[in-house]
Amino acid sequence: MSLGPAEVAKIAHLARLAIREQDAPAYARNLSAILDLVAQMSAVDTTSVAPMAHPLDMAQRPRADEVTEANQREHFQAIAPRVEAGLYLVPKVIE
């Protein structure tokens, strides 16, 4: 599978990554090479093989629906880039 700079730009948008235009051809080459490597998988017939999402066959543990964590908003917001009055600040979203 070969990807060009335009496709890289589209994927980068989906991934919310600002890729500089001059870097797109190199990423396109790298990604195409990685997808060629990955394409080796298609040589194998996996029609009846059950996908394995996780290494251990285990069920998620349910727990009682109770509050187990204390509120640490100030502690956690102390490392935020920009906060005000207990809120995270971002550029204006709604005009």
Partner: protein
């Protein structure tokens, strides 16, 4: 017992340092000062540490000495160690080797950090690593590459390259690492130390910054299997805060080290000794296998027929999980934020582009692509099916044999800069380690010789939760050989 003299404290194993502390030969504070002085002396040339926590290390050491006076010490109490900078440490920068987290002060401790602290271990600092654990050479770190103590022109391996180099250079007697595709075992091999990736779920991932959540697992790196047994015993165990952590008793790994190997069946996968394996490395690995025969083990040739598909499947699954995990870095709640964003999209895209390096960017892009509409079945679903085939190969092999052995890495450490511009060649250096993560099995690397001055590692793969057996098999070898006692001359 032969106790270490103060001048050679840095060259002792954790087991012997623990004995020295217990016998009152030296205090934890004295011991910690020895390692801090070595870090100060040697780290500028190696770049193994990103952050050194000298002040808190000395406070922890004094607390450990106090605990010992109260008669409450265990085998790790007062022993200094280092943590890979992927484990959150409360109040201490936890960078994950990335500009994204360059100024991130973790607000809590990882469970692994808590568990080792509860055992009384002293934290010397945080070790360098490939950015977000993505790399096999430690060259993708925002803080620059780590050098291999055996040869400063060589890479230490990755992604736990700082931990491996720190232990090999005797800047710390043990360290934590994490392994998603070989990131404990490959640097352990390339730096001539011992490291074990436990079964998925054996060690809590809580507070361990996620790369690929169905593959990531933390484990210890040290000089010997005995030291890894001591560290793993403290690290492992159930944690309700990690929903994939397994609720199963932790065996006394140290007590199980000495079992004889007579009659042990070791499987040698023919796929691990074929094309791509360096001839000199093959000779060293074969010599180790001969040693195991002398110890009474029986060799059985086996096949893991889908081995060549492990790297292709991994480079779908790991990037897919990475693209999803790293979506949390948005410049809003923590981590790097760009200057003067013009709108919300600009805030996201520039913060992420500035915060992530090239390899992390590549993997996020690959992961985003394979999960995008129209491609899921061809890539992600297919990779999960291949993952099942690889796992089934191992299940069949463990019907025939007790453990599997082979080279950890196809070559010894390569030169700095040699593969950094060629991602595919770099990926191939994990050819023997990646399948183990896909299956979720435990794997260990131990030093078994050299090619020139660069170390060679033997990989042992065990069945699920057979960490005790891997440590036992490695320990018996280390009782009759001395590769694990060699130290790089420049750091003697």
């Amino acid at each position: 017992m032969n106790l270490p003299s103060p001048t050679a404290m840095h060259d002792q194993t954790i087991a012997r340092l623990g004995a020295g502390l217990a016998a009152g030969e030296f205090s934890s504070e004295e011991l910690t000062r020895v390692f801090l002085a070595r870090i100060e002396q040697f780290n500028p040339g190696l770049n193994a540490f990103i952050t050194v926590t000298a002040e808190s290390a000395l406070a922890q050491a004094r607390a450990a000495d106090e605990r010992r006076r109260r008669g409450e010490a265990g085998p790790l109490t007062g022993v200094p160690i280092a943590h890979k900078d992927i484990f959150c440490t409360n109040g201490v920068r936890t960078s994950c080797g990335s500009r994204m987290l360059d100024r991130f002060i973790a607000p809590y401790n990882a469970t692994v950090v808590e568990n080792l602290a509860a055992a009384g271990a002293v934290t010397l600092g945080k070790t360098n690593m490939d950015e977000f654990a993505m790399g096999s050479s430690n060259e993708t770190s925002f803080y620059g590459p780590v050098r291999n103590p055996w040869d400063l022109d060589a890479v230490p391996g990755g992604s736990s390259g700082g931990s491996a180099a720190a232990v090999a250079a005797r800047l710390a007697p043990g360290a934590t690492g994490t392994d998603t595709g070989g990131s404990i075992r490959q640097p352990a091999a390339l730096c001539g130390i011992t490291g074990i990736k436990p079964t998925y779920g054996r060690v809590s991932r809580w507070g361990m910054i996620a790369y690929a959540s169905s593959l990531d697992q933390g484990g210890p790196m040290a000089r010997t299997a005995e030291d890894c047994a001591l560290l793993l015993g403290a690290m492992a165990g159930f944690d309700r805060r990690d929903s994939t952590c397994v609720d199963r008793p932790v065996p006394d790994y140290v007590a199980l080290l000495d079992r004889p190997l007579h009659g042990l069946k070791i499987g040698l996968p023919r796929e691990y000794f074929g094309e791509g394996l360096d001839g000199e490395v093959a000779r060293v690995v074969e010599a180790a296998i001969t040693e195991y025969r002398k110890l009474g083990a029986e060799m059985v040739e086996i096949s893991l027929p889908n081995s060549q598909l492990a790297i292709p499947a991994y480079y779908v699954i790991a990037p897919a999980e990475c693209s999803s995990n790293l979506a949390r870095f948005d410049g809003v709640r923590y981590g790097h934020r760009c200057e003067n964003p013009k709108d919300l999209l600009d805030l996201y895209t520039r913060s992420r582009a500035e915060g992530f390096g090239a390899e992390v960017t590549r993997r996020i892009l690959v992961g985003t692509f394979v999960l995008s509409a129209g491609y899921y079945d061809a890539y992600y679903l297919k990779a999960q099916q291949i993952r099942r085939l690889i796992s089934d190969d191992f299940r069949r092999a463990f019907d025939q044999v007790d453990v599997i052995a082979g080279p950890t890495s196809p070559t010894v450490a390569f030169n700095l800069g040699e593969k950094v511009d060629d991602p595919i060649t770099m990926y191939l250096s994990d050819i023997y380690t990646i399948a183990v993560n896909l299956a979720g099995l435990p794997g260990l690397s131990l030093p078994v010789g050299f090619v020139g001055q660069r170390p060679v590692g033997l990989q042992l793969i065990g069945n699920y939760f057979a960490e005790d057996q891997l440590l036992n098999v490695a320990h018996r070898y280390q009782q009759v050989t001395d590769w694990h006692q060699r130290s790089p001359v420049a750091f003697a």
